[in-house]
């Protein structure tokens, strides 16, 4: 174990939702440390609190109690603007349903985080092109989401997540809407990103997908039930996507 501080550190984090008169305890004291460069799969049944945990890690939500340190900085007390900045600079999101802007070309979708980071048009364009090339879509930058397969759309989403050079990429059921072959291709991209030093945290309920991660955290009833390290399965990139990887 190295002595460097963890990239993500949750200390006794709880989250309570008020649904009318009922309090729903989504998280009941979660402590978790994730080091830079790790690949972690968070598993659990629905209602186990894994989505809530993901939202808190992703700075989309704040814990009710407890501390959350992102890259050494306490973020549990930040306001909406500061959280937006963290999401923009430090984090990248990949969703189950891709969440690309419709009637908007791939490159414009990928440029989106840079737009809010205040990058100039030319720089935005260049970096988005590089990111798309990195996920193997260098020849489809002007395609619109409705002209692409699910796997291609998810790769655009990954390009969008990594274009601003985040420290962490958070993926919420990234293969949930994909067939098994495409799922493996997407996992291959995640593994290559991890190899280039980006921390990858993904939420999944599929054990097959969790096998590609080096660490599996299982949630149950708002608590961490188990936290194990494993030798990850290597995902084979599709032959046509051999260009994946490259410059960081």
């Amino acid at each position: 174990m190295s002595t460097t501080p963890p990239l993500l550190a949750l200390e006794e984090v709880t989250k309570v939702y008020h649904m009318g008169d009922v309090d729903v305890h989504a998280l009941r004291g979660v402590s978790l440390e994730i080091m830079e460069g790790e690949s972690v799969a968070i598993m659990g049944a629905s209602g186990s609190g894994k989505s809530t945990l993901m939202n808190i890690i992703g700075c989309l939500d704040r814990p009710t109690t407890g501390r959350y340190l992102l890259a050494g900085e306490e973020v549990s007390m930040l306001d909406r603007n500061e959280l937006a900045e963290k999401r923009n600079r430090t984090l990248g999101f990949v969703f189950q349903n891709f969440n690309l802007l419709s009637r908007t070309s791939a490159i414009e979708n990928v440029e989106l985080p840079l737009l809010y980071a205040g990058a100039h048009t030319r720089e935005r364009h260049e970096r988005a092109r590089v990111a798309l090339t990195r996920v193997g879509l260098g020849d489809r930058i002007h395609h619109h989401p409705n002209q692409m397969s699910g796997g291609q759309q998810q790769r655009v989403a990954i390009a969008r997540a990594l274009v601003a050079n985040p420290k962490v990429i958070l993926a919420d059921e990234p293969t949930g809407n994909l067939d098994s072959v495409t799922s493996v291709e997407v996992m291959a991209i995640f593994q290559q990103l991890r190899d280039s030093g980006i921390t990858v945290v993904l939420v999944t309920h599929e054990p097959d997908i969790a096998r590609y991660a080096a660490r599996v955290v299982v949630m149950k009833d708002g608590k961490v039930q188990s936290d194990k390290r494993q030798e990850p399965l290597r995902a084979e990139a599709a032959p046509s996507d051999a260009a994946v990887g490259g410059e960081a």
Partner: protein, 409 residues
């Protein structure tokens, strides 16, 4: 994110729904063009009235002799001559606010040139009259004092009379015209004045020096003025004062006691013009108000569509927030979208209003006058409408919770 980038994002979002954006803008287009066209036509009508009254003469008062009363039958104004030449002299010399005063004696007479004849109004007057009515001579020379006093047999013709007696473009100066069979030499042709607001042709007229008129055309009643006195006040604001002073003077000279009716009447054309202008102003304002309501309805249309758009694009808002958009970025984006719709509508409305107003004015022969300030006001007002009606939807969008927004179906 800088304003230019925000604008670009907004325009792109609007172009994604071209038809809807256009229909939303249509409300503003119609509102603004209505305001522009209505105000232009109203201002045009006002300018026309002003021009017509200006062509009557500036700061003009007309003194008419009184009415006769015999056995309960009352004649109209002018049916009995009550104004004397001494009255005229008194008005000219004793009232400080009066600059000019001139008698206008009138008669209808047959005029004949060598080969044509024409019936028209013939007026006998003095040179001052032309200053009061602001009426220069276009060809030849104007009436002189010696013409007026010496009884010279010269005549000054309006353009319509010239056209009818000598043909268009003819120069009649030096030729002889017979008025009631008395030969007069044409000395000048008056500048064209056009029509009055009630359709009278100002140019269908002939003027003869006062003395000659009295001896050759009219005759009799030498003590009284069988016509009207035209009075020019020293300035427009002094016109009302001049009216009061002339009234007081004439009442005094005619020995009219308090409580008795005047035996003359005075028409104040400036007042008439102001009254007509005021009524036109009311109509213009009314039309503009109706048009402004249209603009307001257009604004509500924008708000409606922006609210639909925010709901429809909830997921997009969630995505934008997830990748780092701050609430104010979202606010700015939707606000700029509303503003762009409204301002584009404003500009298109100006184009439509100007061309529409021009076509309408040309078709219906209405005058039209475009005021630059109205154009600026319309653009500012439509932009304001965009901001006011865009603010609520934009704020609603910016307050969305990113998690909820991302989950929105």
């Amino acid at each position: 994110m800088n304003p230019l980038q925000t604008l670009r994002v907004a325009i792109r979002a609007l172009l994604r729904n071209k038809m809807r954006s256009f229909l939303t803008t249509l409300g503003i287009i119609i509102g603004v063009s209505a305001v522009i066209a209505m105000v232009a036509i109203g201002e045009g009508a006002k300018a026309q009235v002003e021009a017509q009254f200006a062509s009557m003469g500036s700061n003009l008062l007309i003194v008419l002799p009184g009415s006769t009363t015999s056995g309960g039958m009352r004649g109209g104004f002018g049916s009995m001559p009550t104004l004397t030449w001494d009255d005229l002299r008194a008005i000219r010399t004793e009232v400080p606010t009066v600059k000019y005063a001139a008698a206008q004696l009138s008669s209808v007479a047959q005029l004949a040139s060598e080969d044509q004849n024409w019936s028209t109004r013939v007026y006998g007057t003095t040179p001052e009259y032309f200053s009061i009515r602001d009426w220069p001579t276009a060809v030849g020379s104007p009436m002189s004092d010696s013409d007026a006093e010496g009884g010279t047999k010269v005549v000054f013709l309006g353009q319509t009379v010239v056209d009818n007696l000598f043909g268009a473009n003819a120069n009649p100066v030096g030729q002889v015209v017979r008025v009631k069979n008395v030969p007069f030499e044409v000395k000048g042709v008056l500048a064209e004045k056009g029509q009055s607001s009630w359709g009278q042709d100002y140019d269908d007229v002939a003027f003869i020096p006062l003395k000659a008129f009295q001896t050759k055309i009219q005759g009799g009643l030498q003590q009284f003025i069988s016509g009207q006195i035209y009075v020019g006040a020293i300035s427009e604001p002094a016109t009302a004062r001049a009216q009061k002073q002339v009234t007081a003077l004439l009442r005094d000279r005619h020995h009219i006691g308090p409580g008795q009716d005047d035996d003359f009447s005075i028409r104040n054309l400036t007042e008439l013009a102001n009254a007509q202008e005021a009524s036109l102003n009311t109509i213009t304002n009314l039309l503009a108000a109706v048009a402004a309501v249209a603009l307001l309805v257009g604004g509500i249309g924008i708000m409606n569509i922006m609210l639909v758009s925010v709901t429809e694009r909830t997921r997009e808002i969630g995505v934008r927030m997830a990748v780092g958009a701050k609430p104010r970025n979202i606010l700015a984006q939707f606000l700029v979208e509303a503003l762009t719709l409204a301002t584009a509508g404003g500009f298109l409305g100006i184009v439509l209003g100007l061309t529409g107003g021009r076509v309408l004015a040309a078709r219906l022969h209405w005058p039209m006058l475009m005021r630059a300030d109205i154009i600026v006001i319309s653009v500012v007002f439509s932009a304001l409408v965009g901001v006011i009606f865009g603010l609520y939807p934009a704020r609603k969008a910016s307050l969305l919770d990113p998690i909820e927004a991302l989950r929105f179906e």
